[in-house]
Symmetry: C2
Subunit: 230 residues, 2 copies
């Protein structure tokens, strides 16, 4: 019984996700669906991005959490427009939640919309949000076996951020094994090893974002549909 | 549509979980359902338990993962009986999976059955496995806000293991905030702060396990039903 029910839910999600994608593309916004375990550093990565690129890129944020507005409060301190979605128990964001959030967030003037998904390395992979691309963030203390053990997310993304490089000397993490398993599962995924604490190698992430913004604008120059689907 | 469907799934799970619970209780086994994020240290905690108590307690292990048998291989090296369940995508163990595993694992002679759930701080909370108790494991690098952000799991457990205490000087973690939020959400939960790397304070965990084994045997002295429901 479970599989067909899940398929219905996913099919309904896909309809709304495609509507969102059409609208995002028409406005030339680069939309990143950021996925990772609790505590991998999703919010900190967005904060660092705002600190370092917030003056030249217009960045909006949707924060997905089961409960609390802690993450949205952190983002708001950086002056960025942000909406907190509380799923009330649900383990992932879905396209309808994002569509509702767009009613409260003026996104058509943005360069980047960062959607921080619920902290979960499994379920969010299945739910398309109409994003331009998915990014996984994983951190050294989680261990180097995570690509092998959570293949759905790591095969769905175009980039993987390996965070907390500052802890390399303090944890048991085999970077070669991590790289090899990612290269085997998803050879086209771009791997960026960095530290949101020390700032090491954040330039690579910012450049990758810039490229995404550039491509989104090239493909879909602003001036298409301007009405949000929300 | 989603809520009633979910209720049906949970109700069906509850029937099997109660069947398992009756059987576990009749055999006097202490069954721990271990919950935590990917990389929190679930497998390492079980390995340390086997190393330090495996000579005086008979411990069996069920390993839940989406993919791979990496964790079961780690456990098997310690000489403990272990079964790997691969959920094939599902984000949690359910009671039917555990019942099936019991067909391949001789548990009636055990003192403790450790069930390591899928790495996920959300979904496993909803699925009763017939266990004696649920334990959450969380680690310092994940951040001190996890109790507030993932309340379902932290309110469902009788104990919380705060792991990776060895990283205290290297990460930003407010222990007081963590303790206060847990005390508010779930005042009866026993908090054990330890390090599976250095072994610091593992005695407290082992004593807690011993108490559980003692109570399970007192309440349900061996000699009840001996036929596994599997």
């Amino acid at each position: 019984m479970k599989v067909p029910i899940m398929k219905n839910v996913l099919a309904a999600n896909e309809v709304i996700a495609e509507e969102l994608r059409t609208w995002f593309e028409s406005t030339g916004i680069f939309v990143v669906n950021l996925l990772g375990s609790p505590g991998a550093g999703k919010t900190t990565l967005i904060e660092q991005t705002l600190e370092r690129a917030g003056d030249r890129l217009r960045i909006g944020v949707i924060e997905g959490d089961i409960a609390t507005s802690l993450d949205a409060e952190r983002i708001a301190r950086h002056g960025a427009p942000v909406i907190q979605i509380n799923t009330g128990g649900a383990c992932h964001l879905d396209a309808a939640m994002v569509r509702n959030a767009l009613g409260q967030l003026e996104v058509s003037y943005l360069d980047i919309l960062m959607i921080e998904n619920v902290g979960n390395l499994i379920c969010p992979a299945q739910f398309d949000l109409g994003e331009s691309t998915k990014v996984a963030i994983c951190s050294l203390p989680e261990g180097a076996d995570k690509v092998l053990k959570y293949p759905a997310i790591f095969s769905a993304v175009s980039a993987v951020v390996l965070n907390k490089l500052d802890l390399l000397e303090h944890v048991d993490f085999n970077r070669i094994n991590f790289k090899l398993s990612l290269a085997e599962l998803n050879p086209s995924a771009r791997l960026m090893e960095l530290s949101c604490v020390t700032g090491d190698n954040l330039e690579e992430w910012l450049e990758w974002l810039n490229e995404g913004v550039y491509k989104a604008k090239q493909q879909y120059p602003r001036g298409g549909e301007s009405r949000s689907p929300a």
